[in-house]
């Protein structure tokens, strides 16, 4: 089926395929358009003319001209000839840091190794120079130096190019652009002991073979695979879904917790507001204590008043007593009034004693005279105290007549005063009683006002409010803390959401690409069957060369069903030989790889467009030991190769001991003893 038809079929399929979303269709068609193209190799071959190697492992200085002929290099030991093939690869594509064939590439006596290869392409000579210096690590090997017309141009070595320049020269660029590794591509050109399966087992072997055999769809597949690799989830994306879910749940929990706390805080604040209101009310009541304290001060005032009144009353009572006493006095004066004449008489009778009451003797006239004149006692003769005696005259005291009247008036006056004072005392007592009642009333008011109760309640409220505020503050702090955590989790959630989105996109994209891949791989499988057929026929024909050794009884080759170019050699004893199951040192593996490489290269030689580099390097085809069983077959095969790969330059390196069939090989190969070029001073 013509390529264009295939392409338009695929395009149609992309549009119709349900599993490919519209959003991918255009992209896929673009991929199809850009990738569904055959590789365009340089038509002209690139041929090796000469190689110079210095300080590369065992080789100190080698200069080997290649005369457009198949060449066999041989030496005493394996080192030198292997070093030659390794040096050639180094010169072309540098050192594979991931898989260095040689660890100590630089000869122990040198600081630097140098390789120069000379090539002819379209009759133009090129020199590729590549060197490597050990300065605590290998430097410079990735900076080759290409000189066109080296015989004429003395371009300084220091002018360096890149591997891309070499790739252009040797025609690797189209493959490199499709993502193939130079080392993998170069492994097609070499069968080297110790790394025999480098090409057969390499990751891209199948694709590389596809591409080389013009299976253009593989380019698309490779792009799809590349895109699919891009769709592979990294570790975080893989976790995204689960973690997002977990983080979301956590954020919900935190949010709920915040909500609950906010509710709690709101409740607390509400209670605070309520309590504050109550407290304000109480404060108001307590402020009205002015009223209460007025009452209190009134109480004090009244008590003072009572005290004053009592004092006044006491004074009045005293006055009352005085008046009563005065009345008594006036009355008592009246008493004497009653019996005044009798008293008057008595007074006169006792005024002058007549005789001594003890001895009853009469008082003598002289004693009386003494008494009257001197105031001496008529009884004892002592001077009578002045207050005990008086001088009386016949003249009466003035005003005695009015005494009764005066006394009466005085008595009336006193009685009046007494009544007045009594009234005053009664008034004062009434007043005191009244004030006492007022105090009782005040005490009742005091009790009613419940001032102290208010104060106590206010104190309780104050305490409660303080406590609630503290509680609210704590809640707020907790809210803050949880909010912070919440925000942290939210940021996490956002991050995981983005990652999850990417994951989903990748997965969708992957699904789309896989659908695309399904469309393509059908075509690819078909094409591959074709190539497998080609290779199987070629290998079957080549197997006939092996007539005495391991493959003596080989009956044919089959390719696996797994869409790779893995194969099995069947023998008559129903024995199956699979290259991937053989040990690296097994001589049978050398047979396999010679068979496989030659088959591929031979078929490629038939293709319209293929690699311009026509070099085939074979290291130790007989193994490191003498393989007597297979040696004749190998020699037959090496000879057969020159016929089959007639457009190629075949360079075989082998030990001197393997030169048993030298004469036969000489028919087709130039023999070069490597000892001529190698300093063997190890």
């Amino acid at each position: 089926m013509p390529e264009d038809n295939i392409k338009s079929d695929i395009r149609k399929s992309i549009r119709e395929e349900d599993n490919i979303d519209d959003e991918y269709e255009d992209e896929f068609i673009d991929i199809l358009d850009s990738r569904y193209t055959k590789l365009d190799f340089d038509k002209s071959s690139v041929l090796l003319q000469r190689i110079q190697i210095r300080a590369f492992r065992a080789i100190t200085d080698l200069d080997l001209p290649i005369n457009n002929q198949n060449t066999i290099i041989h030496g005493k030991n394996s080192k030198g000839k292997s070093s030659f093939i390794e040096a050639t690869r180094f010169n072309l594509i540098g050192r594979d840091d991931d898989n260095p064939l040689v660890t100590d590439a630089i000869h122990k006596n040198y600081d630097k190794l140098e390789t120069d290869s000379y090539w002819l392409k379209n009759d133009v000579e090129y020199k590729i120079h590549r060197e490597m210096e050990d300065i605590g690590g290998y430097e410079g090997h990735h900076e080759p130096n290409i000189v066109k017309y080296p015989r004429k141009n003395g371009v300084p070595i220091s002018q360096r190019q890149t591997q891309a320049n070499v790739n252009n020269l040797i025609g690797y660029t189209p493959l490199y652009q499709r993502g193939f590794d130079e080392f993998d591509v170069f492994s097609l050109h070499s069968v080297i002991t110790g790394e025999l399966r480098n090409f057969y087992n390499c990751n891209d072997a199948t694709d590389l073979i596809d591409v080389l055999f013009g299976i253009t769809v593989t380019n698309v597949v490779r792009k799809i695979e590349e895109e699919l690799r891009g769709c592979e989830l990294d570790e975080e994306e893989k976790k995204a879904k689960g973690l997002l879910q977990e983080r979301l749940q956590r954020s919900y929990r935190l949010y709920e917790e915040i909500q609950t706390l906010q509710d709690d805080q709101e409740d607390a604040e509400e209670v605070i507001v309520e309590k504050t209101k109550q407290r304000k009310k109480l404060s108001h009541l307590i402020e009205n204590k002015g009223k209460v304290s007025e009452v209190l001060s009134e109480k004090i005032n009244i008590k003072d008043d009572i005290s004053d009144l009592q004092t006044r009353r006491d004074e009045k009572q005293e006055e009352f007593g005085s008046i009563k006493q005065a009345i008594s006095k006036v009355e008592s004066e009246a008493v004497t009034e009653d019996v005044a004449p009798a008293l008057q008489e008595m007074k006169q009778l006792v005024a002058v004693p007549n005789h001594c009451p003890i001895c009853t003797t009469s008082i003598s006239p002289s004693k009386h005279e003494q008494f009257h004149e001197e105031g001496d006692c008529p009884l004892c003769g002592e001077e009578i105290p002045s207050k005990r005696y008086d001088t009386v005259s016949e003249v009466e005291e003035k005003g005695q007549v009015d005494e009764k009247e005066r006394r009466h008036e005085e008595l009336e006056e006193l009685e009046a005063r007494r009544r007045q004072v009594k009234g005053e005392i009664k008034f004062l007592n009434d007043e005191i009683e009244e004030k006492k009642q007022r105090i009782q009333e005040i005490e009742r008011i005091e009790e009613e006002s419940k001032f102290f109760e208010y104060k106590r309640q206010k104190k309780t409220l104050d305490d409660e409010i303080t406590q609630l505020r503290e509680q609210s503050r704590k809640i707020e702090l907790r809210i803050e803390a949880i909010s912070e955590k919440f925000h942290e989790v939210a940021r996490d959630v956002r991050r995981w959401k983005l990652l999850n989105k990417e994951r989903i996109q990748k997965e969708q994209r992957q699904k789309a690409f896989e659908a695309f891949q399904d469309l393509i791989t059908r075509e690819q499988k078909e094409a591959r069957r074709r190539v497998q057929n080609q290779l199987r026929q070629r290998m079957n024909s080549l197997l006939k060369v092996f007539t005495r050794g391991t493959f003596e009884t080989a009956t044919g080759v089959t390719f696996r069903e797994d869409d790779s170019y893995k194969y099995t050699v069947h023998t008559t004893g129903r024995k199956k030989s699979k290259p991937e199951l053989l040990e690296e040192t097994n001589a049978e593996l050398t047979l396999h790889m010679l068979l496989f490489h030659v088959a591929v290269l031979a078929e490629l030689q038939e293709e319209n467009s293929t690699l311009p580099l026509k070099l085939v390097l074979i290291d130790s085809p007989y193994g490191n030991g003498q393989d007597n069983e297979n040696a004749p077959d190998i020699t037959d095969f090496l000879l057969k190769m020159t016929e089959v790969l007639d457009e190629y330059q075949i360079i075989v390196a082998m030990a001197d001991s393997n030169l048993a069939d030298q004469k036969r090989l000489q028919q087709k190969y130039d023999l070069s003893a490597i000892a001529d070029y190698i300093e063997t001073g190890e």
């Binding site: 007593g321 009563k324 006493q325 005065a326 008594s328 006095k329 009355e331 008592s332 004066e333 009246a334 008493v335 004497t336 009034e337 009653d338 019996v339 005044a340 004449p341 009798a342 008293l343 008489e345 008595m346 007074k347 006169q348 009778l349 006792v350 005024a351 002058v352 004693p353 007549n354 005789h355 001594c356 009451p357 003890i358 009853t360 008494f371 009257h372 004149e373 105031g375 009884l379 009578i384 207050k387 005990r388 005696y389 008086d390 001088t391 009386v392 005259s393 016949e394 003249v395 009466e396 003035k398 005695q400 007549v401």
Partner: protein
């Protein structure tokens, strides 16, 4: 007080006549002239009343007829001048003498004591009080009776002696071996005796619990002056009108009625069995003397301290 008679008026004129130291016949002429000039038939004035004396100065001694008589009798012109200028020195003219001064309260005690002695004597068989002992106890019982009587107002602290605070004898009683005894009463008894108001007659061989009566009793009876005085004022002193005195009198009457017929022994038993007396220690105050004084001095109530110290 109403005391008017010719004699008293004469007395004032007589004293002036004596003071002029006139010969007897001239003195009589002066008295008769002055009496005629005075011509005050009825007045309420006593012959010692200053208003009467003033009347004599204004209307009698300054009369020209009297002054003429005095000049005729060759009386010292300075004295005649005193008559003319109505400045007769009555203090010189009138008689003056010393007397033992007693306060009105003391006089009242003496008078009431005399009344008690008189009343008791009247109802007794022998017409007297048979001992100083009985007198002491009778007076004690009178006062004690007054102590036990409630007064309307009780305002004397620390002692409330009932009606005794206002009436009764002012004697302070202490406990002695003989029972309640008052030195004040003894002194007053002496005073009455000294002025012949009572007589004390010793009765040998009989005794009372009284210390002074261990070997002889002293019978107390009214003396000569006492009998005169009781006789003169009998009616007045048995009808006391004033409240306080009538209560005093009534206490005296009741005590005489209740205890008048008791023998000394019965009286002794009775008095010694009175609770206050029985419980009191020797010399312990039983009744404080009345504080109320019926005199012209400022009436005062003693403070508790004063009351005690006084006692």
């Amino acid at each position: 007080m109403t005391m008017t008679n010719k004699e008293t008026h004469h007395k004032a004129i007589e004293r002036v006549a004596e003071w002029l130291e006139l010969p007897r016949n001239e003195e009589n002429q002066f008295i008769n002239l002055a009496y005629d000039l005075a011509s005050v038939p009825e007045t309420n004035l006593t012959h010692f009343d200053e208003r009467y004396l003033q009347h004599l100065e204004d209307n009698v001694f300054s009369d020209p007829r009297l002054l003429g008589f005095l000049k005729q009798s060759r009386i010292n012109p300075t004295v005649i001048e005193q008559f003319e200028s109505k400045q007769i020195p009555y203090d010189e003219v009138y008689q003056q003498w010393n007397v033992i001064e007693y306060s009105i309260n003391e006089i009242l005690d003496l008078t009431m004591l005399l009344k008690l002695i008189s009343q008791y004597s009247d109802q007794s068989e022998k017409g007297l009080i048979d001992s100083r002992y009985r007198l002491q106890k009778l007076v004690y019982l009178v006062n004690r009776r007054l102590v036990k009587q409630e007064r309307a107002e009780r305002d004397t602290a620390p002692y409330d002696h009932g009606k005794l605070e206002k009436t009764g004898f002012r004697y302070t009683y202490r406990k002695r071996k003989s029972g309640p005894y008052s030195k004040n009463l003894r002194d007053d008894t002496y005073r009455l005796s000294a002025s012949d108001l009572i007589d004390e007659e010793l009765v040998e061989g009989e005794s009372t619990p009284e210390i002074t009566e261990q070997h002889a009793r002293l019978e107390i009876s009214l003396g000569a002056s006492g009998r005169v005085m009781i006789g003169q004022f009998h009616e007045m002193m048995n009808n006391l009108e004033t409240g306080v005195l009538s209560e005093w009198e009534s206490a005296i009457n009741t005590v005489i009625e209740d205890f008048g017929s008791m023998s000394i022994e019965e009286l002794h038993n009775y008095v010694c069995d009175i609770e206050d007396v029985r419980n009191a220690d020797d010399r312990k105050l039983l009744i404080r003397g009345r504080q109320v004084k019926y005199d012209s001095e400022l009436w005062q109530i003693g403070t508790p301290q004063e009351g005690l110290s006084h006692a």
